[in-house]
């Protein structure tokens, strides 16, 4: 179509459908990245967090796998054989020393698996006790933070979503528990629960876990959920004002659906991060209680109880304290650093 350059007519060529070649030009070559994938990428680049993650992985895997093939078990007293007098030469062995019967076997040309960290005062292989203690401590930390997570999430999301009087009542309750001195309450409750639970669980499957550990979990369930509940409530309070919640409500969605499908998935990263940081604090608490004699039941070891048992022979066998001390510090330190890394990677609000 001929056109006068000074006329105001629209150039119709500009409104033709795009050719295939032009369409191809607009296609984005890079696959779109999700929030999760971005976070993992950031985490991977954070060297400190990555190394901490590897350390945790190694410690966790070895605490799970090593007991499966290790020739000694954490509760066998090597000097005690049925029908024979107790062989005291197995007690308090230094690293890579052997008991009398083992030495005889070695002299006869047999191979005996070494006691890498020696044995303890009751003649139990110390290496496997440390490994097993690590497993117990990690399990306590993990379960405690899962309990805290579930209770905190439940109460926090209900309180945040419904607001009003429900929120008022729950939050006053949270305020009071929050201002209780937690450690003192933990000591008090564990001291009492230890005595109360023992007859209750005798003969059931729970007995093998031990009354002390159950009371530890109960204490965590009673006291430590408040921090998590507060965090989640705060998140939900800001999230429920978002447009997509309004639109869900407009289409007739009920409270439970909105909480589980919209609100919780959107605050999940914050929740995971603070649960990760909860694990070291649970391990700390357990070791503290073990020291006061309120930790896991004997003969089950935990890192805390190993360290506090080591205090009795501190002058002669200081390495028995140093080993669990190093493992505890390593676990707590790497979990803390990894948690910080997670927060940096997954909490975009902090990146500003």
């Amino acid at each position: 179509m001929k056109k006068n350059i000074f006329s105001g007519h629209v150039d119709l060529d500009m409104f033709l459908p795009a050719s295939d070649k032009e369409k191809e030009y607009m296609v984005q070559m890079r696959p779109s990245s999700t929030f999760f994938r971005d976070g993992v990428k950031r985490l991977y680049k954070n060297k400190v967090a990555f190394v901490s993650f590897l350390i945790i992985l190694v410690i966790a895997l070895s605490s799970i796998l090593i007991p499966a093939f290790w020739p000694y078990s954490y509760e066998t007293q090597l000097g005690v054989q049925p029908g024979k007098p107790v062989d005291a030469s197995y007690n308090n062995l230094a690293p890579f020393e052997y008991g009398r019967t083992e030495q005889a076997k070695i002299d006869a040309g047999e191979r005996v698996f070494p006691h890498i960290f020696g044995t303890d005062a009751a003649g139990r292989d110390y290496f496997i006790r440390v490994i097993y203690g690590t497993r117990v401590s990690l399990a306590v930390g993990l379960f405690a933070s899962i309990i805290v997570l579930i209770i905190g999430m439940l109460i926090g999301s209900v309180s945040g979503y419904f607001g009003g009087k429900v929120d008022m009542v729950i939050m006053r309750f949270v305020d009071i528990i929050y201002s209780l001195p937690d450690m003192l309450m933990v000591i008090l409750l564990s001291a009492v629960l230890k005595l109360t639970l023992k007859p209750l669980i005798a003969g059931t499957a729970l007995e093998s876990i031990g009354s002390n550990m159950i009371s530890l979990f109960i204490v965590f369930a009673l006291l430590y959920w408040v921090g998590m509940a507060r965090l989640i409530r705060g998140q939900i309070l800001s999230l429920r004002e978002q447009e997509y919640v309004l639109s869900a409500q407009a289409t007739g969605a009920k409270g439970r659906w909105i909480i589980t499908k919209h609100l919780i998935p959107n605050c999940i990263s914050v929740v995971i991060i603070s649960s990760a940081l909860q694990i070291p604090s649970a391990i700390f608490t357990e070791s503290y209680l073990s020291f006061l004699g309120l930790g896991v039941n004997a003969p089950m070891p935990s890192l805390g109880s190993l360290a506090s048992e080591a205090l009795n022979g501190l002058t002669s066998y200081p390495y028995r304290l140093v080993i669990p001390a190093i493992v505890i510090s390593l676990i707590v330190l790497s979990l803390n650093l990894f948690g910080d890394g997670l927060r940096d990677a997954f909490d975009p609000k902090l990146n500003q």
Partner: protein, 309 residues
């Protein structure tokens, strides 16, 4: 001090009193839920002797009556009843005896950790990313991730047993050095990190640049502007720090055999001295609650920018 502030303080005081009441109630009922009562398991007691002892300590009355008496005695006479295991002594006397040593230990630990922490934190912030900053950060990270009883035992092995520099027994004043250091290391590390990060934050503010541009001298900027403002977040840590020192002293006193309230508490747990457990829990808890209250109020008074809820 406006009316809003007074209202806030009033509300906090009410909450604190309520919390202490909750602590007393929880402690009382939890302790009385233990099966068997305190005299079961004692050697050579006939039922008649047990009944007589329970009558003497008022344990035969209904639970609510016992609770009423217990609460009334605390409020009116500050009386926590007699100790069951240390015959003839009142709980409050044992506690105040132990408090004298524990107070000294706790206060010295708090003061030294605050001073060292603030100085180290400020130095680390001013020498950011230099060698000294790195060293401080690595050390404090290590201190924060080690339980106090392990730290205490390691110090005991190193200084008292291997090097023989300091006594291991904490009942003399020279013997208090190691417990104080043990107790102070964690809060010191925490305060250092807190001071460093808040100091870095303040150093980036516009008013510091303005002061520099005006030609204010370096030390004046650091002490007059930066340090003063960066200590406000540090102030909030004093409540939790006291809570840490109180609970930390339980194990530290045990390790170093310091004759304080913490050791009395731990031994009362092992030998089931119920009134002693209750009394110590309540007094320590009240101490922590009151310190938290003071910290919160102080925080609001010092920094007027903080909005009151």
């Amino acid at each position: 001090m406006n009316s809003k502030m007074l209202l806030y303080i009033g509300k906090r005081i009410v909450l604190a009193i309520f919390t202490i009441w909750v602590v007393i109630t929880v402690t009382f009922f939890v302790m009385h839920a233990v099966p068997g009562g305190p005299f079961v398991g004692e050697k050579a007691t006939t039922p008649a002797v047990q009944a007589a002892m329970e009558a003497k300590y008022g344990l035969d009355k209904p639970l609510m009556v016992q609770y009423g008496t217990y609460l009334k005695d605390i409020v009116t006479k500050f009386d926590f009843g007699p100790s069951l295991k240390q015959r003839g002594r009142m709980v409050i006397d044992i506690i105040s005896d132990g408090m004298r040593t524990s107070m000294k230990l706790g206060l010295l630990a708090a003061i030294s950790s605050a001073i060292v922490g603030i100085v180290l934190g400020a130095i680390a912030a001013l020498r950011r990313n230099k060698l000294i900053d790195r060293i401080v950060m690595v050390l404090t990270t290590a201190f924060v991730s080690m339980p106090s009883f392990i730290m205490g035992s390691l110090l005991l092995v190193l200084f008292a047993i291997k090097l023989q520099l300091l006594p291991a027994n904490g009942s003399t004043s020279a013997g208090l050095v190691l417990p104080i250091v043990t107790l102070a290391l964690y809060p010191m590390a925490y305060i250092t990190r807190l001071t460093r990060s808040s100091m870095l934050d303040v150093l980036g503010q516009d008013y510091i640049r303005t002061a520099r541009a005006k030609g204010v001298s370096g030390p004046r900027i650091i002490f007059g502007h930066a340090l003063k403002n960066s200590l406000i977040p540090v102030l909030t840590y004093f409540g939790p720090m006291l809570a840490y020192i109180v609970t930390g002293s339980l194990v530290v006193e045990q390790i170093f055999a310091v004759p304080g309230i913490g050791r009395a508490f731990v031994s009362s747990i092992t030998n089931r001295d119920y009134p002693m457990i209750m009394g110590t829990t309540i007094i320590l808890a009240a101490l922590i609650v009151i310190m938290n209250l003071v910290t919160d109020i102080l925080y609001k008074v010092v920094d007027p920018r903080i909005t009151l809820e």
